[in-house]
Amino acid sequence: MVIVIITLAVVAGIFGLILGYSAIRFKVEGDPVVDKIDALLPQTQCGQCTYAGCRPYAEAIAKGEADINQCPPGGEATIIALADLLDVEVKPLNAAHGEEKACPTIVRIDEQTCIGCTLCIQACPVDAILGAAKHMHTVIESECTGCNLCIPPCPVDCIHIFEVKPTIRNWVAELPDVDYVAPSAA
């Protein structure tokens, strides 16, 4: 009886040691820096940085292929945060990629003019436009990131930019003397 318990315990212990060692030996490192960079980007998926979205841009920054000043929606705050994370110099926003907006914006469709061509739906990177062919389209405002990619394809120019004014629901008090970046109104 005792020998059974001892044998089982010893064998199980050896197996445990083997597994524990191999867990350290064969540890798989992900790339945490990409996740950290991606978390700092505004997730507008607007493509103004010339990459397909925020995640590919984050991967390009991590590889050193892209500069940190290519994100107009994030603007200066994002550049400072990225420079802080990656320990590099802060640079002004690269004007070739666009200008920073003073206030977060969204778009609305003038529903009287919309002809239901679906071109803006295909352009929207976050699927924030609802509609079907030859039916009126509308923008789901809580999903709109303000990337304005839907405006150039519109054949009747019925999409207009609106500023997001802070309301009693989404207003965030800015804390004094604390490094605090207000969440971009999405």
Binding site: V4, T7, L8, V11, F15, I18, L19, F26, V28
Partner: protein
Amino acid sequence: MTEYALILLSTILVNNFVLVKFLGLCPFMGVSRKLETAMGMALATTFVLTLSSVCSYLVNEYILVPLGLEYMRTIMFILVIAVVVQFTEMVVHKTSPLLYNVLGIFLPLITTNCAVLGVALLNTQQQHGFLQSLFYGFGAAVGFSLVLILFSALRERITVADVPEAFQGTSIALITAGIMSLAFMGFAGLIKI
């Protein structure tokens, strides 16, 4: 050499683990809905079955038999299989992320595959040596893979077939498995071992 060839032939066709011995039926029914998943499962099982067959032979021969603890086989083999599966998962994850994505969730599932335990126990029952255990495990795995892939290909066709309402879904799958089993019984006269 003929002996090993016979073991392979016997385990793949004549004494097929799934269709003749009826072991490992749950993955056989569970992951045979799509050919791709069946292939992933077949690959993972082949690897684990061969390795665990050898490992359980070593544990039995050099730990259990010298100490006279043969009656502890079952629990010991379960332990060995669990460790082999875990270890395989870690190594695959590290060395080949592509293979890990293919095998993915199937690796942990194999722990509870009774064919794996069955092979280990049958090895000791039939008093196989080291190489015999290796070939027995590998043959069993190839047999399992063959049947699983054949069956999943059949099931993909059955889903688009015009099956009577009462037989739809799992019933027709079980009937198909039964007919396949009958077909495999035909190999019984091939060799005697």
